[in-house]
């Protein structure tokens, strides 16, 4: 009897203890450094460390949280999925400075870049980029439009070159690995890649 009571008590303690620990600990996502505290995201102009809090006009600016509230969420940057927002028609940016009726020339062409190691291969989608950009924005100043002419390096990208010319500045940051490394390596892919190389 005593043994049963002790067992039940011990079981109860073991059950409650992890719950209490998790309740006491910080946000379970705190281990992942890429997940910033939601409270710090898109801070209002008076607290964002960018605008002058002593300027009387600063508090007249609309808060990003309010402005972005109706837009799709993302996990990094300013936490808005701007591509989805555009595709859903939630925003309608003007494409040309002179001609309000001009629309982009969208090209649906995917470039798959094989990578070494365990990371999935990179897929560069022209479609999502040409919805925002013109060919001349990247070609040839950033990327030469020629196979084999653009050896890519994550180090260079992190330093603001190549893809880093935009990503991390005006587009989602390179901490979103899966956004680009999105094509898993499969035996079929590897076979197809070898055939392409031949």
């Amino acid at each position: 009897m005593m043994f049963r009571i002790a067992s039940v008590t011990l079981a109860a303690v073991m059950l409650v203890m992890p719950l209490s620990i998790s309740a006491q600990s910080k946000d379970p996502l705190s281990f992942n450094r890429l997940m910033a505290d939601p409270e710090t995201r898109n801070a209002p102009p008076l607290k964002d460390g960018i605008h002058d809090p002593d300027n009387p006009a600063t508090d007249r600016l609309q808060s990003p949280r309010e402005a972005f509230s109706a837009l799709p969420d993302a996990n990094a940057g300013n936490y808005v999925d701007w591509v989805e927002a555009l595709q859903d028609g939630l925003i309608n940016p003007r494409y040309d400075l002179q001609d309000p009726d001009m629309s982009p020339t969208v090209m649906d062409l995917d470039i798959v870049r094989e990578v070494k190691g365990s990371m999935p291969d990179v897929v560069f989608p022209h479609k999502e980029h040409t919805e925002w950009l013109d060919c001349a924005n990247c070609h040839p100043a950033i990327f030469i439009p020629q196979r084999g002419a653009n050896p890519l390096s994550m180090a260079a990208i992190l330093m603001g070159e190549q893809c880093g010319a935009c990503h991390g500045r005006v587009a989602f940051p390179v901490t979103q690995c899966r956004s680009c490394h999105s094509r898993s390596k499969t035996p079929a892919d590897e076979a197809a890649t070898q055939k392409e190389a031949q």
Binding site: L34, M107, L109, I111, M119, I144, R147, A155
Partner: protein, 372 residues
């Protein structure tokens, strides 16, 4: 009155601002422009911004004071301005008086009252900023006129501030700022604009040439036939005509033609490649080439560790673990470099792979998930 009329009729390429007044006045009178609210309200909608905003309105006209206070940034104007409203018949004399009075530079307000900091900023904008310098250097009398209007608004703002009307002072301060920015836009020298247009043309030409080369490769890779190549030849001719126009200093027409060629080129490439997926595989001609690639990859992972280690929340225990992985990575990298120096690039590649593997473990310890 349009900007071009002011610029061409005044013919004042090098006059200082006080010498602009008689010629500017003549130009304004000749073109029938008025700088009173009444006169401007009669202007058509096609009038340039110069005429659309009131430089001096009965409400905004500077309060009267003796001329001795003019240079201190205080209110200026004569009692006659307030007592007799500006009428078209006395436009010339009134405008001349205003221009003469507002020619003097403004200074920040002497009293540190409410809004004084903002007014001081406006004073600096009008007199000391790079924009002010640009206006001073400009040969466009309209730019100088706008700056004088800004000065007049500023003096009125200071008077309102000293009278305790903060809201009015703020409103007039904003008008002063707006006038100054209009002055800056008018002050942009033709040389600056032309240099920009030329640079833009060169960049567009570079893009067109790069895409023409890509068009040729696409045609060859996909075996698209003669019509595709004929399209390219037509575009090349367009580009050649654009270059001819450019050499004849007809930049606008050249750019127009070049843009048309550019659009045609984009559409042609889009049609050829739409819906495709192109795979760029990692092929190395030699082990040495692969070794160079692995070196870059190793560098990248090292930089990533450094980047994510900047977080001060990393505990001491975690730092020791990471240092352990980094130490092993360094040793393996050194081993790889030694092997490469001995010509054994195959072994060097393997060593570098292991080194990068240690860096991946360090990154996972930092909290960055890398699959594997």
């Amino acid at each position: 009155m349009s900007e071009s009329v002011i610029r061409s009729s005044a013919l004042l390429s090098s006059a200082r601002h006080h010498r602009l007044v008689p010629a500017l006045l003549a130009a304004l009178l000749a073109s029938g422009c008025a700088s009173t609210t009444d006169a401007r309200q009669d202007q058509s909608a096609t009038a340039a911004p110069v005429t659309e905003t009131a430089a001096v309105t009965p409400d905004a006209e500077p309060a009267s004071q003796s001329s001795a206070t003019r240079s201190k940034g205080g209110p200026v104007g004569s009692s006659s301005l307030r007592s007799s409203p500006l009428e078209s018949a006395s436009l010339g004399a009134s405008l001349l008086a205003i221009l003469e009075e507002t020619n003097d530079p403004v200074i920040p307000p002497e009293k540190a009252g409410n809004g004084a900091a903002h007014l001081a900023f406006i004073a600096r904008l009008i007199e000391e900023s790079s924009a002010a310098q640009q206006v001073s250097d400009s040969s466009n009398p309209a730019a100088h006129l706008r700056r004088n209007e800004a000065r007049a608004y500023y003096r009125s703002a200071v008077a309102a501030s000293e009278a305790g009307d903060a809201e009015r002072a703020d409103e007039l301060g904003k008008k002063a700022t707006k006038m100054m920015f209009m002055a800056v836009r008018l002050a942009e020298a033709d040389e600056v604009i032309e240099v920009k247009h030329e640079r833009d043309y060169r960049r567009r030409l570079e893009s067109v040439n790069a895409l023409l080369d890509a068009h040729e490769r696409v045609g060859a890779e996909d075996e698209l036939g003669t019509s595709f190549s004929q399209t390219r030849e037509v575009i090349r001719q367009q580009v050649a005509r654009a270059e001819t126009l450019h050499q004849q200093d007809q930049l606008d027409q050249a750019r127009e033609r070049l843009d048309a060629a550019y659009v045609a080129l984009k559409l042609s490439i889009q049609a050829a490649r739409e819906g495709q997926t192109r795979i760029r595989s990692l092929d190395f001609a030699t082990k040495e080439e692969e070794y160079q690639h692995e070196l870059t990859r190793n560098d990248t992972h090292q930089k990533l560790v450094g980047l994510f280690m900047q977080d001060s929340d990393t505990s001491e225990g975690m730092k020791r673990m990471i240092d352990n992985f980094l130490g092993k990575a360094r040793e393996l990298r050194q081993q790889a470099e030694n092997q490469a120096d001995d010509g054994n690039h195959e072994a060097a590649v393997d060593s570098l792979n292991e080194s990068t593997g240690q860096l991946v473990r360090a990154l996972r310890t930092v909290g960055i998930f890398i699959p594997g």
